[in-house]
């Protein structure tokens, strides 16, 4: 096992290098750069100076080499737009996205797993159809729409929750009061994200559960005279959870990418909208930094999923 993990970690290095080259090339393929189309009344000389200061007038290979040699030493450069180190910019916003995404992720799992199990066990029942309907709504209705709808119902009409923002304007709360305030402001975007994730996860769990229930050993367990509850929750569920573990591992990078639309509408200061704007203004250092972060997390998440899969399923031997 240890050898396997080590080998996978070493493999990450060439993969990350290749990824960074690919991402850099793709970003440069889009027409325009940080300087184009901006600042109305700039002279050509000024634009040339800005390009020169940001090395945008050098051949792309040189620009990449410059970025890579700094990145290896942990320096991701300065954001063109914020004029601050990329690491600082990302660090300012990413944890806000993380707490929102993590809460939604955990709760959606806690709800989706039982829902999926019940749906599979009681297939074709009213409950199953109702759950399917909820899932369908969660998958088809855009988050944009659900967000605005919840704002209207719960914030404007019922005045139960704030319309937007992470804290009250001018808030000076600290400690526990601050935590409560943030949680209160987080509730609606959290609800939106939970509902949209719940739908996918529920269907996933249901499918996995159905697969397992069809297996011969489940029939054997029943034939042995075990109680149905034991059959389902002790035998079937455990095996059905294996793909779900993989899903969790693969979802780890998503916790750090930010839900762009939801964050934007709720003015939740997360990394999602920052990255989105960075694409539009061609803020290459910020984009490279952010994308490489997600790449690293994806590789680690994949590794964790594979390792935990092997730990949980004795049939798997990792080579």
């Amino acid at each position: 096992m240890r050898q396997y993990i080590l080998r996978r970690l070493l493999q990450m290095i060439p993969i990350l290098i290749g990824t960074s080259i690919l991402i850099f090339m793709i970003f440069n393929l889009a027409p325009g750069d940080f300087v184009s189309g901006g600042g109305g009344h700039r002279t050509a000389a000024m634009e040339a100076q800005i390009r020169h200061a940001k090395h945008l007038d050098e051949p792309e290979i040189i620009q990449y080499a410059r970025w890579a040699s700094q990145a290896i030493r942990g320096n991701l450069g300065d954001s063109f737009n914020y004029n601050k180190p990329v690491v600082t910019v990302i660090n300012t916003y990413i944890w806000n996205s993380f707490i929102l995404a993590l809460s939604a992720f955990i709760v959606s799992l806690l709800i989706a797993i039982p829902m999926g199990v019940v749906s599979a066990v009681k297939q074709h029942s009213f409950t199953d159809s109702a759950f399917n309907l909820i899932a369908l709504v969660g998958i088809s209705v855009p988050t944009f729409f659900i967000s605005l709808l919840f704002i209207k119902w719960f914030a404007v009409d019922l005045k139960l929750f704030p319309i937007s923002g992470m804290t009250e304007a001018g808030s000076t709360t600290t400690g526990l009061a601050r935590v409560v305030e943030v949680a209160y402001h987080m509730f609606l975007p959290f609800l939106v994200l939970t509902i949209s994730q719940l739908a996918y996860t529920m269907k996933f769990v249901k499918a996995s559960m159905l697969e397992v229930i069809k297996q011969d050993y489940i029939r054997t367990a029943r034939a042995k005279g075990l109680k149905e509850k034991v059959v389902i929750y002790k035998h079937a569920l455990r095996n059905a959870m294996i793909p779900v573990i993989t899903l969790i591992g693969l979802s780890i990078p998503m916790l750090f990418t930010g839900a762009m639309i939801t964050e934007k509408i709720f003015s939740w200061p997360g990394i999602g909208y920052i990255t989105y704007t960075a694409v539009f203004v061609r803020d290459y250092p910020l984009l490279m930094g952010d994308t490489m972060l997600v790449a690293v997390l994806t590789l680690i998440g994949n590794l964790m999923a594979d390792v935990s899969y092997a730990l949980v399923d004795p049939r798997i031997r990792l080579k």
């Binding site: 889009a30 184009s36 916003y93 109702a130 003015s267």
Partner: protein
């Protein structure tokens, strides 16, 4: 079977609920009277029912909360391009001169100024008793420092203010590190600063005058010429100035907190605290309507205006924006569009009124000259209206030699008349324009093809002249002369049309020399008339902004050329 039916019904009910949420209480018909303010084209609809003011707002007695967007932590004119950050900058810093609501120069830090008869020397006298927010006096040395900084050889690596076009003597040598003093900026005494120009430039009065002034002691402490980073870092993290309010804190992505500057030279602000709270454009109406923000604005569209009116406790202002208008750009070197007759045909053959009304309804008007309706230079006599006229357009195309073929598409010398329209997306104007243009051009026998891509790609292609026709918002300043020079002068950087007309160039040069505004207006009018005939661009619309201000706040009003943020020190809360 039965439960399938129940579920199906449930599904139907849910779908219907979603559909119906789209309807629902629209902004009610506000019969509130519209008042035309005397200052400019501002329309005011007063609050109809202040008792509706939410308790959140009423209980806020010493704080004004302003809704804002696009805050990236650079709230100073030196480094930001965001209009919202400019508003914050206006509360932190002062300028030698300011403009009134119509764009005319008025006193700022300077209570007098003189221009030498030859137009080469501008002298500003700073008012007595002006202090920075820490009580230290603001002097001509601070003004000189500010301009030295702006001319720093590396300021323009990141900076957004470009003083190279002001024409101040010695700029070129100082900004390329060939000289170690900025010769054209002279400190005469503590209160008097003089600027010498290379050539007369009527725009210089406001260009120089409207520069925010930095404290030499504060920003100059660790500053060495050639390395503006220490100043940049201070400006973008702990800005300090002489302005109405002092910077307290910035919560990234959330809010900017400010507190009153008791030693403000025009008088201490009456409201102690100012908060610029970040909210998204989709929640502006709701936040204002819930009393969570006191002041905010939108592009004037019927849904926003009616939402503002519907609240009942907001004073609602609408007026034409001074900062932009929309126009359609032509690449005049394109083989098809180089023919003026074809451009005129398009002007007559495109139903601009329909496009503009479908996006902005009554809150925008079609314009025919490239200048904002709010500007003192605006004119509408002696020009062609290009009112939609299909027959005229067709006739012009016939004259230009494009004959309609059997398939209805025109052709000349075996080449079909096809026009590619570069459209940025997302963009509500392009969304309305494309289908209407397609239909209009079909009637004219032109094959209209829309190429949609995101903004930067369009901007880049247009700048490289790799396009035929495109829609752009044209950013404007308070000075129409420099706007013209940047856009329509031969070889100007924003001259995406590759347009060149020596008459326009000489009008622009003359306008720069003319210090009398009335005479300048006539010179600019000449240029506009030529542009109206040559049509390097086809002006599309002048739209309006709508501002909502909570009725318990009085003393401030928005105007096209004077942001209300310049006067927040006068605001009072009832």
């Amino acid at each position: 079977m039965k439960n399938k039916k129940i579920v199906a019904t449930l599904a139907g009910v849910m779908a219907l609920t979603f559909a119906l949420t789209a309807c629902g209480a629209q902004g009610g018909s506000s019969a509130a009277k519209s008042v035309n303010l005397s200052t400019s084209l501002v329309s005011l609809t007063k609050a109809t029912d202040v008792s509706k003011n939410p308790s959140e707002a009423i209980n806020r007695k010493d704080t004004i909360i302003i809704g804002t967007q696009d805050v990236e932590g650079k709230f100073n004119l030196f480094y930001t391009v965001s209009t919202y950050e400019q508003y914050i900058s206006e509360t932190l810093f002062d300028e030698l001169l300011e403009t009134d609501g119509k764009g005319n120069p008025i006193k700022g830090l300077a209570d007098s100024y003189t221009v030498s008869p030859d137009g080469l020397k501008y002298t500003y006298k700073i008012k007595d008793g002006v202090k920075f927010s820490d009580g230290t006096p603001l002097t001509a040395n601070d003004v000189a420092f500010t301009f030295d900084f702006l001319a720093d050889p590396h300021y323009q690596d990141d900076g957004q203010i470009d003083i190279s076009t002001y024409g101040i003597k010695g700029y070129s040598d100082y900004s390329t590190a060939k000289a170690d003093t900025f010769k054209g900026v002279k400190v005469i005494d503590d209160k008097t600063i003089e600027f010498d120009l290379d050539a007369p430039n009527s725009s210089a009065l406001l260009e120089i005058g409207q520069t925010p002034i930095l404290s030499k002691a504060y920003y100059g402490k660790d500053y060495k010429v050639g390395n503006p980073k220490p100043v940049e870092d201070l400006l973008n993290s702990k800005p300090f100035g002489s302005g109405q309010y002092k910077f307290v804190a910035y919560k990234p992505g959330q809010e900017v907190d400010l507190v009153a500057n008791e030693s403000y030279f025009k008088g201490a602000p009456k409201v102690k605290n100012l908060i610029f709270k970040v909210n998204d454009e989709t929640t502006v109406d709701q936040e204002l309507g819930a009393g969570n923000t006191d002041i905010d604005m939108q592009a004037a569209e019927p849904e926003h205006v009616s939402q503002f009116d519907y609240a009942g406790f907001l004073n609602v202002y609408t007026f034409p924006t001074g900062t932009s208008f929309g126009d359609i750009e032509f690449n005049t070197k394109d083989p098809v569009l180089s023919d003026k007759t074809v451009r005129k045909a398009i002007a007559y053959g495109l139903d601009r009124k329909q496009i503009v009304e479908s996006v902005y309804k009554q809150y925008a008007q079609v314009i025919n000259v490239p200048v904002s309706k709010a500007s003192w230079a605006s004119m509408d006599t002696g020009i062609t209206d290009y009112t939609y006229n299909k027959d005229k357009a067709n006739k012009l195309l016939d004259e230009a030699g494009w004959k309609k073929g059997a398939d209805g598409i025109r052709a000349k010398n075996g080449v079909k008349l096809e026009i590619h329209f570069l459209a940025s997306t997302p963009n509500s104007v392009n969304d309305a324009l494309i289908p209407i243009a397609k239909k209009n051009f079909q009637d004219l026998g032109i094959n209209f093809i829309a190429d949609q891509m995101e903004f930067k790609s369009v901007a880049d292609k247009v700048r490289k002249h790799d396009y035929q026709m495109s829609f752009m918002g044209a950013g404007q300043t308070v000075d129409p002369t420099s706007d013209l020079a940047q856009t329509f002068k031969t070889g100007a950087i924003a001259n995406d049309f590759q347009y060149s007309n020596t008459k326009v160039d000489s009008d622009i040069a003359q306008a720069y020399k003319e210090t009398d505004q009335t005479k300048r207006k006539a010179i600019l009018a000449n240029a506009y008339k030529i542009l109206n005939d040559d049509l390097p661009s086809l002006p599309l619309y002048q739209r309006e902004d709508v501002w909502g201000i909570n009725a318990r706040i009085s003393g401030v009003e928005p105007a096209p050329y004077r942001d209300l943020f310049m006067d927040l020190y006068k605001a009072t809360i009832k």
